[in-house]
Amino acid sequence: MPIFYIVAGTVFGFVLSRSGAADYDFIQGMFLFSNLQLYGIIGTAVVLTAPGLWWITRHGRSATGARIAFERKVLNRGTVIGGMLFGIGWSIAGMCPGPMLVNLGEGKLYALGALAGAFTGAALFGALYPRLQRPLGLPPLS
């Protein structure tokens, strides 16, 4: 089964690479409204994923017959604060999480800095979780 996820990731990464989603200039262009490509990509992806998702969850079974089950997102103060912090980082680096790996694969060496920062940020969040949990209303660890 790992091979399926490697192939799925490769296709996903190739598309991110060639679409502009992993391109510093396209990301800035999106936030400057000078290049609307990324709005078209995200919009199309959502418009096409939504009916498929509706059908799969209604059908209720995966291709192997397993019951479809996934975690739904929960709302808390972290959703707002974390979302805003992420947006600042997306603008500065010109990369959201997937494109960091895509950019590195493409040979853009500065993606190493972004990845190192992201792992450090995640490690920091993990270390602070017990202290942030109550004030931000984060769920118990599961």
């Binding site: 190739f14 990509i41 959703t79 694969g105 993990g126």
Partner: protein
């Protein structure tokens, strides 16, 4: 507008969006997995860190599919470069170079700072562009709409301030 990568033309947005939707739906239908990439930061951390946050079942179980998927993202970038004019290491960062002309070391620091916000922010928000923006919005989850509005809004403000005020 060409890509930074070898000056290649970008795929049409509708084709790109359709391909992203296809992978998202296949992950769910074949693998019974919810698309989400930033949880992968936890997965990588969990390989070396042992605090309770990184010992969670959702991380230890989820990393079995997410780590191969992340490896695929890297390979996808590599393949894209190799098939599109050839792979070569580069420091070129388009508009950032035109505005600031940072040295490689300074660019690594710049990117590290951005990455720090992305890593901390996505884990705090419990998702990124993929898990909230693509899957969550497609599944009509309110928290994902809130998160998406927050990160699009703050990214917009940051870039507008950077490129229309600070770096002009």
């Amino acid at each position: 507008m060409p890509l930074i990568l070898n000056g290649l033309p970008a795929l049409h947005w509708a084709v790109s969006g359709a391909a992203i939707a296809a992978v998202t739906l296949l992950l769910l239908f074949i693998g019974n997995r919810r698309l989400g990439i930033s949880s992968g930061f936890d997965d990588v951390c969990s390989l070396v860190l042992s605090s309770s946050y990184f010992r969670r079942g959702r991380t230890l179980e989820g990393r079995r599919w997410r780590l191969p998927f992340l490896a695929g993202l890297f390979l996808g970038g590599l393949l894209s470069a190799q098939l599109g004019g050839g792979w070569a290491p580069t420091w070129s960062a388009g508009m950032l170079d035109a505005a600031l002309g940072l040295s490689p070391a300074a660019k690594l620091v710049w990117m590290f700072v951005g990455g720090l916000f992305v890593g901390f922010g996505t884990r705090l928000a419990n998702g990124c562009t993929s898990g909230h923006g693509i899957f969550g919005l497609s599944n009509f989850e309110w928290p994902s709409l809130v998160a998406t509005l927050c990160f699009m809004g703050s990214g917009l403000v940051t870039t507008q301030v950077l490129y229309r005020l600070v770096l002009r």
